[in-house]
């Protein structure tokens, strides 16, 4: 099963028959996909336009595809807002600290479960599967977090995420797909399970680690739910929480630096754009890792 996965090509050359001429069918396809891609892109464009529109133009014009006058004051307001930077700081802590922590526990669990029979494996596996389909609900979870003393801490956004079952199974499937001979020969040399894992399997699975790490990183970048539930302290709000309160709640919380020139809508949009930009920049280069991950993980199930 595993060996086959390696060969699954994603963008392999199309060899489906001789009809390689560009027909009507292709034109229709192309148009549909172009419209689809535009539908994805347009909201971002619109968002950007509003973020650079001055107040007077915004208030007077019903619809904007382009603005006659451009102002970047909204961005300046966002940059000068201490809550945004504080949110960014918290999010970066999650991004680096959280991702490393989650990666460690998820990977060792995935490895242990990928090995052949050992004492208690089935029991642990069943124990994990049950949690995928049954949970205690909000209040018991809340009481647990409370009794662990984790409310109002950054820890609550990291610790409970130690193992993500989906990513853990992804890792397990990947480890299981690596050739068994590697383990056997290492055993003959007298290595134990931990040594085999650290010296042989880990170096071989760097691309997969990157994938899972990226999944965690994105999750941490977008993290707000646990923070919203458990943290009332405004000084440990994540970037997304700050963003949410700018967008939906405290609409006027950012005072404008250049009063009169910008509208509140612009500031909100600038704040959103500010959080999207890093992902927009990195995503095209990292996309293949994400794709690889989900393919390996899901095909095995």
């Amino acid at each position: 099963m595993g060996a086959k996965l390696e060969k699954l090509p994603l963008n392999k050359k199309d060899k489906r028959g001789p009809s390689s001429k560009f027909g009507k069918f292709d034109v229709v396809l192309l148009v549909i996909l172009l419209i689809y891609a535009l539908a994805i892109i347009f909201p971002f464009y619109y968002l950007f336009i509003i973020s650079i529109t001055p107040q007077d133009i915004y208030a007077e014009s019903p619809f904007l595809l382009w603005t006659p006058r451009i102002t970047f004051d909204a961005y300046q307001s966002v940059f000068e807002n201490s809550q945004i930077w504080n949110g960014l700081k918290i999010t970066l802590i999650l991004l680096f600290g959280g991702t490393a922590y989650q990666l460690f526990f998820t990977v060792i669990t995935g490895y242990a479960l990928s090995r052949n029979k050992w004492f208690g494996k089935n029991f642990v596996m069943n124990m994990i599967i049950v949690t995928m389909f049954f949970g205690g609900g909000l209040i018991p979870y809340y009481i647990l977090i409370k009794s662990l003393g984790m409310t109002n801490t950054i820890a609550v956004m990291i610790i409970p995420g130690a193992i993500d079952t989906f990513n853990m199974l992804l890792m397990r499937n990947y480890f299981a797909s690596l050739p068994k001979e590697l383990e056997e020969s290492a055993r003959i040399d007298g290595a134990n399970d931990i040594q085999i894992f650290a010296k042989i399997f880990l170096p071989l699975s760097l691309p997969m680690l990157a994938t899972v790490g990226l999944f965690f990183a994105v999750g941490n970048w977008n993290s707000w739910y646990n923070g919203m539930l458990f943290n009332q302290d405004p000084s440990i709000r994540t970037l997304q929480q700050v963003l949410q309160s700018i967008i939906v709640k405290e609409s006027s919380m950012i005072p404008s630096v250049n009063p009169g020139a910008i509208n509140n809508e612009s500031i909100k949009m600038a704040a959103i754009f500010f959080t999207i930009i890093p992902m927009m920049c990195f995503y095209p280069f990292l996309q293949r890792y994400f794709v690889k991950g989900i393919v390996v993980g899901a095909i095995k199930g």
Binding site: K15, R16, S19, D26, L30, L33, Y36, I40, I41, P43, L47, P62, F63, F105, A112, N116, K117, W118, F119, G120, K121, V124, M127, I128, I129, T131, F133, F134, G136, G137, L138, I139, P140, Y141, I143, L144, A162, I163, R187, G190, N192, D193, I194, F197, V218, N222, W224, Y225, Q240, L243, K268, M269, T275, I276, M279, Q287, F290, I294, A298, G301
Partner: protein, 317 residues
């Protein structure tokens, strides 16, 4: 050190102690996971006892169980609420529709992308359409509200063409459409990846044979590509059944408004609102709500799994 040689027949011969000893390193590696799952998944399951009590936070769970046990009264309370049944049906409807729509849209996008022959274009489209998956609902919801509010760009275009304002955010059915639409916008591209990969794995011999028979491209899609992804599709469908009752808290929490709450409120947002906003229920009632949701979800998964197995497909449990 011959751990790899543990075979079934040998296991009986060796003593349990040796078996454990041989597994000791792997057990060491799994201990954090055991602690983790017990702590964060099983302890809350034990907390569902709250559902049978008139919970008192100063006495804790055990104290409440001994001193404030009220049996099924909390369930009686919720089953007697009109709101509850409305919310429950909303959840089933939204959850089920989402599963179906996610499936159909992902397969459609996969077919479209799979048929594209310009490699560069294919790659670019894939990058663009998978991107929204990585945005949080905070952002996606605000994008959609920006576009679809009564003064948003879509309505401005409609008015510009002489039409009347369409209440995307205020008419129940249109708002539900928006919920499903934003789900497609965000997830269809990402969901298609797995199908594209499966399609790439279909043997090219089949297509070549079809070409010799003079099949059109649509015929090839119908007779070769779609049957080729059937197994994967069914597996993913079963997997998603477990999430039907979750129906997307983050999405609805961020997108909904008072006007459409009646049609869009789901169990999770209802629990959140009654706990933190309206302060309507004591902890016991809210826990009973959560427990009920869990139980129904569990039954759904088991049932689907059995049906799939009965139809000769691979189950998941």
């Amino acid at each position: 050190m011959d751990g790899i040689l543990i075979e079934k027949k040998q296991k009986k011969d060796k003593s349990l102690g040796k078996y454990i000893y041989r597994s000791r390193f792997l057990i060491m590696m799994i201990i954090p996971a055991i602690v983790y799952y017990i702590l964060f998944c099983y302890v809350p399951m034990y907390g569902v006892l709250i559902a049978f009590t008139d919970f008192s936070s100063s006495e804790g769970i055990m104290g409440s169980v001994f001193n404030h046990w009220i049996g099924l009264k909390n369930f009686e309370t919720i089953f007697n609420l009109q709101d509850f049944w409305r919310v429950f049906l909303n959840t089933i409807f939204i959850g089920t529709t989402k599963v179906i729509i996610a499936f159909v849209s992902a397969v459609t996008v996969a077919l479209l992308i799979n048929e594209i022959r310009l490699r560069f274009f294919k790659k670019a489209v894939q990058i663009i359409v998978t991107f929204p998956h990585f945005l949080s609902w905070v952002i996606v919801a605000s994008l959609f509200i920006l576009m679809f509010s009564d003064n948003g760009s879509i309505n401005q275009i409609i008015r510009g063409m002489g039409g009347n304002t369409v209440g995307f955010l205020s008419e129940d059915h249109l708002f539900l459409g928006l919920i499903f639409g934003s789900d497609i916008w965000k997830e269809a591209g990402w969901g298609s990846i797995i199908y594209i990969a499966t399609m790439a794995g279909i043997s090219t011999d089949l297509y070549e044979a079809a070409d010799i028979d003079g099949a059109t491209r649509l015929q090839k899609i119908w007779h070769i590509t779609l049957p080729g992804i059937k197994a994967t599709a069914i597996l993913l469908l079963i997997m998603s059944v477990g999430g039907v009752l979750s129906a997307g808290f983050e999405q609805i929490f961020n997108m909904s408004n008072d006007m459409v709450e009646e049609a869009s409120e789901i169990i999770d947002t209802y629990i959140y609102n009654t706990t933190f906003v309206s302060h309507q229920f004591r902890e016991g009632v809210t826990t009973a709500l959560g427990l009920f949701k869990s139980l129904v979800g569990f039954v759904l998964v088991i049932t689907t799994d059995r049906i799939a197995k009965a139809c000769g497909e691979r189950g998941i449990i």
